[in-house]
Subunit: 195 residues, 2 copies
């Protein structure tokens, strides 16, 4: 088949993360055959989101306003600043209901091998914000991956040098898990941090 | 976060087959952060494909023209008509280079439990086409799933009643596989159809 409009759609769908050529074909045919309304809705949602979503001037997450709903909420505790890698991580923390402070969203992590350094993820803005005199504790909630740890380590060093209290999310055994199936490094950390 | 444009995008992405809420979030943030150009391209491709793709008047596949490129190719052998479930199946057969005849694309399969009968997948049009005096053999290439077999069986009965030669793709051991790992029903079929 040589159908430019279909090929263009499949190519565009393939650019989505986690979508290969087979999935893209399946999506394209599904939309054509069963969900043309959904296709138009998706096209509108894409255009709308790209036009309207921008970065919160304070925490860098995505928002339609100048300040995101968290940063503009006067009931959040401005003394605690939680640093996360992505808006998705921030959303997960919010859903957990365990944090009432404010956030700083890095929009990435330090990736030495790809040449992504601290400045590319907004470390300078984070440092400027952390020394505003209001922030008392910076909680580093970057992922427990190699790159997340590198990021946390670099930020912790810079923040401590400015006299700030810096903490990291606890490592340990996830809720609902049986010890038998937990990886050994996690068990070792949970044992070391026992309380 | 309460961000209508972002929520609308995540909801629209979730309607794609195989995309759950986590994947949709990941796609939305990926587009916002790394591929705004790709988002605009996808929006345009969606609109373009929905506007321009329609059914080939002869084989029912998707095309931008009145007739698809296969049906309008005079070098295809009109005496052989291959019946497939979807344009994706047709594309797979074309890539195999094993067939030079024409196609009829059902755009679905008989699903008795969902109330999808033969008329919903174009069986009437297929029968009308098969008795045009040119078609000599109808090759049923629906899937070897329960619903694909039901579809092939129903179509074979109707086509044979009209005096047509009806064949089915061979079942057997897939290329590149070791017998040890092939399921037993496939081995039994391959043994029965040995040659």
């Amino acid at each position: 088949m040589v159908e430019p409009a279909l090929d263009a759609l499949i190519d565009a769908l393939r650019r989505l993360p986690g979508v290969g050529v087979k999935s893209a074909q399946r999506m394209a045919f599904h939309l054509l055959q069963h969900d043309r309304d959904g296709a138009h809705r998706l096209a509108g949602a894409l255009t709308g989101a790209m036009q309207r979503m921008r970065h919160c001037s304070r925490c860098h997450t995505y928002t339609e306003a100048e300040l995101c709903s968290t940063c503009s909420n006067p009931r959040r505790d401005a003394r605690q600043l939680c640093v996360v890698e992505t808006p998705a991580d921030q959303a997960a923390l919010e859903r957990s209901g365990s944090f009432t402070g404010l956030y700083f969203v890095l929009l990435g992590r330090i990736r030495p091998l790809q040449g992504v350094g601290p400045e590319a993820i907004g470390a300078d803005e984070l440092l400027a914000r952390a020394v505003d005199g209001v922030v008392e504790e910076v909680i580093l909630a970057t992922g427990f991956t190699a790159e997340g740890e590198v990021t946390a380590h670099a930020l912790a060093t810079a923040l401590k040098a400015r006299g700030l209290k810096v903490t990291r999310l606890a490592r340990g055994v996830p809720a609902g898990s049986e010890l038998e199936y937990v990886d050994l490094s996690t068990i070792a950390h949970a044992m070391g941090d026992r309380r």
